[in-house]
């Protein structure tokens, strides 16, 4: 290498509150960290997901308890909060799926340019957030 790299600032003992907040993540970075967050969210909520799978599928009686969870609530949890958790799961699944397809596409086609990384990240964010808004409006009965 003929040209010396320009000196970069060094970060040691990174503080989560004073240093992390000064980082400006590029769009691909947002897609990446949200991929993790959505993944861990679905992992932690997996018992609720399996409960929905169980109650919606097992019988017509359990199906009624499934649908009433979204209106009358589930145990001490009010119905609107169950809807909110379902919306979080909708977003998590959409983001994880679309960002995952981006991963697979990049692996298969070796699309590793900076430009494609940024533009495809914008597509992922627009699609996942847009679809979440549309489905969320349906879930909360706006149309």
């Amino acid at each position: 290498m003929t040209q010396l790299n320009k000196p970069r600032p060094e970060f040691r003992n990174i503080n989560a509150f004073t240093d992390l907040t000064t980082y400006r993540l590029p769009p691909a970075g947002w897609v990446s960290i949200l991929h993790r967050i959505s993944g861990i969210l679905m992992f932690l909520l997996m018992p609720f997901i399996v409960w929905m799978f169980d109650s919606s599928l097992s019988s017509e009686i359990s199906y009624d308890s499934f649908t009433s969870a979204f209106t009358a609530g589930l145990g001490f949890v009010p119905g609107w909060f169950v809807k909110l958790v379902a919306l979080a799961l909708i977003w998590a699944y959409l983001h994880h799926l679309i960002a995952g397809v981006r991963h697979l596409y990049m692996d298969a086609t070796h699309s590793v340019t900076k430009e494609f990384g940024a533009s495809s990240a914008y597509v992922v964010l627009a699609l996942s957030i847009g679809l979440t808004v549309i489905l969320g409006a349906k879930l909360f009965g706006l149309y």
Partner: protein, 121 residues
């Protein structure tokens, strides 16, 4: 290289290689394909979607078998992903091992429950 045997043996390593890398992508493609199949089955029915339609999606034997395979794939996919998160952020081996054990118990429990639901349909 640091000592990596006896009482110093690292028991929570990554098993470096392509096995999990490839498994993560194969299971992801399988889950994406399964999502499309379920969506297609739901969208191709006419009228409002109630219990009959929803239960009908999983009624056939091939769909039950496919769902079983996807559930096992999903379990492995979640294990690789969550393990990678622990390995990136949690450094003390004791805490990491505890989190790995929790992750396996959590995932195996959920998998067993989901298969129980599927099997008795």
């Amino acid at each position: 290289m640091a000592i990596n045997y006896g009482s110093k043996r690292v028991v929570v390593g990554a098993h470096y290689g392509t096995r999990d890398w490839l498994a993560q992508r194969v299971t992801a493609a399988l889950i994406a394909l399964f999502t499309l199949i379920v969506l297609a089955k739901l969208l191709l029915t006419s009228g409002p979607i109630g219990y009959e339609t929803w239960a009908g999606v999983f009624a056939s034997q091939w769909m039950k078998t496919l769902t079983f395979s996807v559930l096992v794939g999903l379990f492995y996919h979640a294990w690789v992903g969550v393990r990678d998160i622990w390995m990136d952020y949690v450094k003390p081996p004791g805490i990491r091992l505890a989190l790995h054990v929790f992750t396996i118990v959590w995932l195996v429990g959920c998998l067993g429950w989901a298969i129980q639901v599927l099997w008795r349909l």
